[in-house]
Symmetry: none
């Protein structure tokens, strides 16, 4: 793929992110996306096999970015508390930045097994990253605790997405609260 093609590939993904995120998978027409990208309808099919695959590609790019940055944050944090804090902040800020594109998360195609598979893979990788942080601190059953931590964060994201006036300050407070709650909760499990 040439440079120009890579650029077009990206610009289609950008347009698709925009439109899928605002209108949801089913209410988005291919022509909505291609018009937004300034290309002809058929051109999309030179880069993506189908509407489903395009949605999957948008999701994949977004998640890969999420996971890359997550790992970067964890790597450059010091100690358990700092790492958990970075995770929480990353999780909540990710959704904060996507407030205007909520339909990416709630209005995905319903019965695409490949997409389901892919999503599951991402969730697993997210969980694994958090589990590793906990393992380093010598916790037992780190799987369970990783899931619980992510679960808390994921519930809190709802307020961010659906309360129009959620501020960055409120977000920051949530981060602190969550870390505190979790750290106290696991205190006795830590091997020190």
């Amino acid at each position: 793929m040439s440079g120009a093609q890579r650029e077009k590939h990206e610009s289609i993904l950008d347009a698709a992110f925009e439109v899928f995120g605002k209108k949801g998978f089913y209410d988005t027409k291919i022509s909505d996306i291609t018009e937004h990208a300034g290309i002809a309808k058929g051109t999309m099919y030179l880069y993506f096999k189908s509407k489903e695959e395009l949605f999957a590609a948008v999701t994949r790019r977004d998640w890969e970015t999420f996971l890359r940055e997550l790992n970067y944050q964890i790597k450059h944090a010091d100690g358990l508390r700092d790492k958990l804090q970075k995770v929480a902040k990353h999780h909540l800020e990710y959704y904060y930045e996507r407030k205007a594109h909520t339909k990416l998360f709630f209005h995905a195609p319903n019965n695409d097994p490949e997409l389901m598979q892919m999503m599951h893979g991402f969730l697993t990788r997210y969980m694994a990253a958090v589990r590793e942080v906990l393992e380093e601190s010598g916790m037992s059953d780190p799987d369970f605790y990783a899931k619980a931590y992510i679960g808390m964060l994921d519930r809190l994201k709802m307020d961010i997405l659906f309360e129009g006036d959620f501020t960055r300050e409120a977000l920051e407070k949530r981060v602190q609260q969550t870390v505190r709650l979790f750290l106290q909760g696991i205190e006795k499990e830590l091997s020190e």
Copy 2:
């Protein structure tokens, strides 16, 4: 509505629960449901305004049951630990019993604002019930903690729904772990 009508109303809901739960909203045809219920296609429209409304009614009935039982459990439990335990057990068992109907939760109609509204209402009532439990123990910011607790449980439900061999024993263990984690986590916030 006469008794016979009420019965038919219920039997349509039963059929819809079954089919929506197995095939998801979009892959379910009205005729699938009416055939399952043993009635004519048009008859459904005498009882429900639309496919969306039927789905909403199925969801509503299920959630109302959930909340009714939740409140019953809380009312008949003693003390914070017991109440939290009952909540966790109820939440996880609810999904355990619906393992065969996962598409009710993941393949809902995408763009029905009324349904979104309704779901939001149920989540709020669920949260409120847990918040009350926490408030009774004199916690500050009980909203946050209620959400965190529910978030943990909701993440754990995924394993129940998608791990085919999840047992009731494993479920029970999750309940204990979650309660323990949470209670330790909030220990210092408790006013006693």
Copy 3:
């Protein structure tokens, strides 16, 4: 199927015969046919599974009529010469009456194995009917002669279909010539 339904079924076939015969399979839109029949597009699909199946049904009805009348003609004819004459007349008149619907024969769907199969079946039944006539006269290799006879007729039909001014008198003359040629040709094979 009720009487009214049977009538609608027939009227769709009539419309399809008309439009397919004039424009050919590929240049006919479903809406052309349903408009011609005075019904909605979806209604066609209550009676026929697909465009291909509708075309097959049109063809089937036409061929069944052809074969029914053929057998009737043969049954009510006396002796070999008369029977061959009736066959020739029937074959050529059939196409004469369908001069305005030539595309039924030349612009059929190209890759429908079921249709190919069906057509093959009809040709076989036609051949079998002629073969029987020859067998009664004690000919050897009646298969070959039946095919040769039908072949002559089928080539002659082309003039009928594509020469605009072909008259019934010319047709009648062709019948006589063909019978004469064929009878002389097989004279020595006859067992008398």
Copy 4:
């Protein structure tokens, strides 16, 4: 056109013959042909105006070869019987050699008037060649007899094309039978 160009022109025709013959006009994509010919898609359009024209060119080349050889055979045959025999053999062998490319004959483009015109021209030239043979023998109405003869052969070709196990010996037998049938049939019309 240079030599190299002529070669490419031919190689496109070869590829088109191959692919059209195997998959039929509608199921063949231009890219199928150009890939088979080892050239880029656009290049085809430097040599042929359209897909239809390419198909017509393939057909034309094939028919011209057919007619050239036919005339050669007729010219080098002696007497009516020999000439008719050569015609029959040529006709049936032509299809025998194209058993693997039947779709050239049955899955042609449906609504190309120019192609129809061309095909008609070839049929006429074929007919004329046979008619001349008959005329030399002083027959009356040679047109009719030429068509009848070709008709017989054309019906017999079907068996060759669609019966997988048709042998050259069976073909030879058909030739003999056809000539015999026809010669006896026209015996009395011959002026000698």
